[in-house]
Amino acid sequence: MSKRIPSPVDHSRRGFLRRLCVGAGGVAGTAALAGCEVAEVRQSGEVLASYDFDIADHADLGTVGGMVSIDAGVQPLLLIRVADAEFAALARICTHQACEMLPGSLGKWDKDKKQLTCLCHNSVFDQAGKYLTGPGGVANLASFPVSFDATTGKGSIDLGGTA
């Protein structure tokens, strides 16, 4: 069962250098052929400075812990009622594998822990978008400041700022 398998590989110094050159050349050649990195988008919507909302338009925001999906121009967001007069606006695309954390589908807000979970792979973020746990090496979610007037029920998301 345990017979020695003879080596077909040339162990001479010349063979070593030849393999080194061919191997390095292959890797470098691939990189050269590959061109450069590119990331481009074509989206409907426009770039907005801010996005105004009225909780009367979003029944799910009527109670603390409610979460809705909002397309603020080109920005896909989650708007979450964290407390009576406190809202969080977070990017809706998970930074792990780009799953879209739609409420009632892949996005789950825990109102007690104040944490957002992407149900694709269980990446967890806090209300500021900070990555907490889940698959390793995940970046934070973009987070935007939200102002809210409890008397009118109206608020605004500052899309140019960082919460």
């Binding site: 069962m1 345990s2 393999r19 061919v22 691939t30 990331a39 481009e40 694709c120 390793g136």
Partner: protein
């Protein structure tokens, strides 16, 4: 030379230290095509992938650019086997990690369309480059008799939450392989035989254009079930199996459209037929065939063909067509060419495209991958790749994007 040896050791040590978690038991169909041998020649499972038998282990020991002797460790070149206890027990492991950008580019408010490389697009912000632990999977195989194998593995990385919907953290199988003229039987937590078993779970023939990064048949997919394989002559093989559909349902329910839509645990069925004529005068090995996999309202048909020649390379093509609940339809095509200038250096290029539709959803995805499989040292592979993907999905907030990126996979195996 000493400094080069030290550098190689540092690189290998660093990779061991970094590769800590996972995803799939991999298979390289090109190896079967170029060698003209079934997957079971080198793998414990007749389906291929995962634990390597003594022939597979020995083959990989000498598929390398540099031997252990080249880096001052000649004793390691004298290993004789991956078996223990007189050949009754085999051990193995796969550790993979990938450096890549995950996710989609997002709109950059300051960018202008005129700055884009592709007409009609606007430069976006690239997703972060992250180091992704993919696989940390030890294998154990016990061979109590000549006609019985018991094999299992556990994907340790899934304990840390790094798990795809539908991915099984473990697999285990009992393989009955008596008279070669009779069917083999696999029982346990196993992957149904579907088309070609590739080692890249992002292939669109196992996914759809709506969720190209999260295949419907995920990495490490397995279900409880049984499958019989009959390989009475060298050029003919047929498999048929029945399985639970627990993990398939989980993968399906996590998608933009759920093609299975089974509300309770049910069954999944698979069948594949393959013809593998060899043309010895030309030195060519070929296979072609088709498979069916279905559960609930999902029906997935794969058709595939391949041709390979030892020391030159291979060409594989595969298409899949699936239908499911909610008018779900996906059609995907894949062509993959490999060139083997050296046994330890393989250049691969593949192109893929998929179109999908379901109620209210229309999506198309194209992907091109160019890469190298560089077997640097025994049991160490580096896989640099360039990946270009174009996604258009009417159901997604990021409607359409193009992402081209370099990736690097490190793979330690035994």
């Amino acid at each position: 030379m000493k400094s080069l040896q030290r550098l190689a050791l540092w690189v290998a040590g660093g990779i061991v230290g970094l590769a800590i978690a996972p995803s799939d038991a991999a298979a390289l169909p090109r190896m079967s095509l170029t060698a003209g041998s079934p997957c079971a020649t080198c793998h414990v499972s007749p389906q291929g992938a995962g634990a390597r038998n003594e022939i597979g282990w020995g083959s990989e020991l000498f598929t390398r650019a540099f031997g252990f002797a080249d880096i001052g460790l000649p004793k390691l070149d004298e290993q004789e086997s991956n078996t223990l206890l007189g050949g009754k027990v085999m051990i193995g492991i796969d550790l993979r990690a990938q450096l890549a950008r995950l996710g989609k580019p997002v709109a950059d408010p300051a960018a202008k369309p005129a700055d884009a490389f592709f007409s009609g697009y606007t430069p976006g912000t690239k997703p972060d480059l992250v180091y992704i632990p993919m696989q940390f999977q030890p294998y154990l195989t016990v061979l109590p008799t000549e006609w019985l194998s018991v094999a299992g593995s556990f994907n340790i990385s899934t304990l840390a939450g790094s798990r795809y919907p539908g991915q099984s953290p473990w697999d285990a199988q009992v393989i009955l392989h008596g008279d070669p003229m009779l069917p083999q039987l696999r029982l346990g937590m196993i992957q149904p035989t579907i088309g070609i078993r590739h080692d890249d779970h992002t292939m669109l023939v196992r996914a759809d254009a709506m969720d190209p990064r999260r295949p419907l048949i995920p990495a490490g997919y397995a279900e409880l079930g049984a499958e019989a394989a009959w390989h009475p002559i060298s050029w003919f093989r047929v498999e048929a199996g029945g399985f639970t559909n627990t993990n398939l349902r989980e993968a399906s329910e996590a998608r933009a459209a759920d093609p299975v839509r089974a509300t309770a645990d049910g069954l999944a069925y698979s069948g594949r037929i393959s013809l593998m004529p060899q043309f010895f005068d030309l030195g060519l090995n070929t296979w072609f065939g088709a498979s069916y996999f279905g559960s609930g309202e999902l029906s997935l048909i794969n058709a595939f063909a391949g041709v390979g020649r030892n020391e030159i390379g291979s060409l594989q093509v595969e298409m899949s067509h699936s239908t499911g609940a909610g008018d779900y339809t996906t059609t995907a095509y894949m062509a993959l060419a490999s060139w083997t200038p050296k046994e330890w250096l393989v250049v691969e290029a593949r192109g893929e495209m998929a179109t999908s539709q379901a109620t209210g959803i229309q999506a198309s995805t194209k992907q091109m991958v160019l890469g190298v499989q560089f077997f640097v040292l025994p049991y160490l592979e580096l896989r640099p790749e360039y990946r270009l993907i174009h996604v258009r999905n009417e159901s997604s907030a990021t409607n359409e994007y193009i992402l081209g990126q370099y990736t690097l996979q490190t793979h330690l195996f035994f």
